[in-house]
């Protein structure tokens, strides 16, 4: 059976084409101001890359913040279920998946079948989500791509007390004024985000193995902070940002 999963994220749209439990193609587009058009482009490109025609696709399921408006879809599945399905498919030993997108962070406890047992989502605060890292990189005037690497160069722990993204930014500015090296500030920022995420993960419990998916998984500084904070190795699967779309494609196959 050929199914497609579309992850309508707040920032990026990801598409996975699946045939009988084998991933045929992936594609990604920035959501921008016209997410539907972006989704359309990503969908068409993925189907084409898979060497298929649209008529051959048997079911399309969407997930992500904009899932209800995704094109071509038969139905949708929440990010929580999609993350659980997707991760257990790609990394069967995982029982806790942490999914951090631009606006939201989630911790999901799952069974070996990829069923959700419990979940927690960050409450109303960007300080536990990807956009927080971006804001802090901007405050430090460091490109986002380098921000995580910079953190790995530090071995110093500087506590950040601010509980919200806005106050954290002024704390970063104070550290800059105090001539604190950028790598130490970067690590402090990642440790702070990780500690917020960890308290959310603890709500559902930490069951090994633990995996991190979503865009933030590409930030090595955050992965390092998270692993230290959790005192356990954190798996970052290949194509980590596609796990949600993969999960949606799997659910599409299961339900059709």
């Amino acid at each position: 059976m050929i199914t497609v999963g579309i992850d309508m994220g707040a920032k990026n749209i990801k598409v996975v084409v699946l045939k009988d439990r084998e991933v045929l193609a992936r594609s990604q587009e920035m959501a921008g101001f016209e997410p539907l058009e972006a989704a359309e482009r990503a969908y068409k490109r993925a189907v084409e890359k898979a060497g298929l025609t649209e008529e051959q696709v048997e079911a399309v399921y969407a997930t992500g913040a904009g899932r209800k408006s995704a094109p071509h879809t038969n139905d949708s599945v929440t990010e929580v279920s999609a993350a659980a399905k997707g991760i257990v498919f790609s990394n069967p030993s995982v029982r806790t998946v942490i999914d951090i997108g631009a606006e939201e962070g989630r911790a999901v406890k799952c069974t070996e079948q990829g069923k959700v047992e419990d979940f927690a989502i960050n409450e109303k605060c960007a300080a536990g989500a990807g956009s927080f890292t971006e804001a802090m990189a901007r405050a430090l005037d460091v490109p986002l791509a380098e921000f995580g690497q910079l953190s790995l160069q530090s071995s110093k722990s500087i506590p950040m007390n601010a509980q919200c993204a806005v106050f954290a930014e002024s704390e970063v500015v104070s550290l800059v004024h105090a001539k604190t090296p950028k790598e130490d500030i970067s690590r402090a920022v990642h440790d702070a985000i990780a500690s917020r995420i960890i308290s959310m993960i603890r709500r559902v419990g930490i069951n090994n193995d633990v995996a991190l998916v979503g865009g933030v998984s590409y930030n090595p500084g955050f992965v390092d902070s998270l692993g230290r904070g959790l005192e356990t190795a954190v798996i970052v699967p290949d194509n980590a940002e596609y796990v949600g779309a993969l999960g949606a494609a799997i659910v599409a196959a299961e339900r059709n």
């Binding site: 599945v77 929440t78 929580v80 279920s81 959700v116 419990d118 979940f119 109303k124 709500r203």
Partner: protein, 433 residues
Amino acid sequence: MAEYKTEPLKCWKKAKELRLKYYKDYQDAHKTGGIRWTGGAWAFDAIPAGLGRDVYNITGEPYGASIAFNKPFSTECLEATEARGWARDLCSYMRNYWGSMYLDKYAFGGEYPKPDFCYQDHICCSHAKWYQHVAEYKNIPYFCIDVSVGPYNELDENRLMYVVNQMHEAIEWLEKTTGRTYQDELLIEAVENELRSTSVWAEISCLNMAKPAPLDEKSMYSLYVHGTLSKHSKEVADFYEELRDELKYRVDNQIAALPNERCRLMSDTQPPWGFLKVFRYLEKFGAISIGSLYTFGLIGLWETKPDGTWGPKTTPMQKGEKITTRDQALRILADWNLAKPEWQHFYDPDLKTKMMLQIVKQWKLDGVMLHLNRGCEGLSCGIMENRLGIAEAGVPVMTFEGNMGDEREFDEKRVMGRIDSFMETLDLQMQTA
């Protein structure tokens, strides 16, 4: 997809009329020389009833909730309160109430009817301060009873007497403040009414153990409210008996609140009053909230029966006890109220978790939805401990952020998204037509 028949509650109209009459009676009390007082829904309202049959009160929490339900007026009230420098994280019922007072607008039309005095008890930090401020602002007298004597399972004679003695003082104060002679027979009548209404409310809640449930929680809100307005009144006690009888009929005849009931949930704390559509949204999945410790135990009084189940607390009258004196009435009233389930967790969240798990078991529930209610420090105290205890017991549980009385703190899209996730974990899909 309907599996069960359904029909509107017959006593719905009466419930509405009773509530409106309550607010109107309070508003009009002075026209006939009556007394108006204000205080919380937890106040021992049977006590001022001894001043006469023309004594009317307005309880702050349901009044704050009524305001919250009217979003534009609520915003006006909240802004009026904030404009006076009060913090946004204070009790949102209190902020709504104060706003109505500052604006001099009554939620039911006209000016805010100035009370003759404030009379309250003190269970959470907002309680005493709420009416202290009303009293100062309106320049009226104020009496407050402190009930911080610990959980009911640790109640002893000294602790009980600490409350009872304050009740005696309250009566002296009421006589002095109003210039009226206190009538013990009216107190006894009010206490008996309260014992009856609160025990019958527990019976009503028990009827929701039936599958399909005869009542959904959204409807329960419109019915339990009478107990929060005037639990000591004969009208409320009689109304609850009528409601109980109608519900028995519904149970016997399998008349459901939700015709496609397939999943039974309970909530917790006050709901976000401006967004009761959360409950309607659940129905699309065939899920019904059958109540909560809050709807069952804020007004209802309970006891553990010999077989270990939870059931309506037996009233002294049912035990054959006759109330004849003021002191006896006050002792019974204090003891009865200190047993109220909904304030036990002020002392220990574990007490609440145990009661919640009892409800899960006895009412055969599939999951729990906890409202992390930012508007009430009291009832959300320890709620994450409750979440942990419920999850550890293997019961599916979700949380959502909100505020009972401040719609500005409710993110509808996110909450609905979270419900979608929870429904998926319960293997429920949205049902079409």
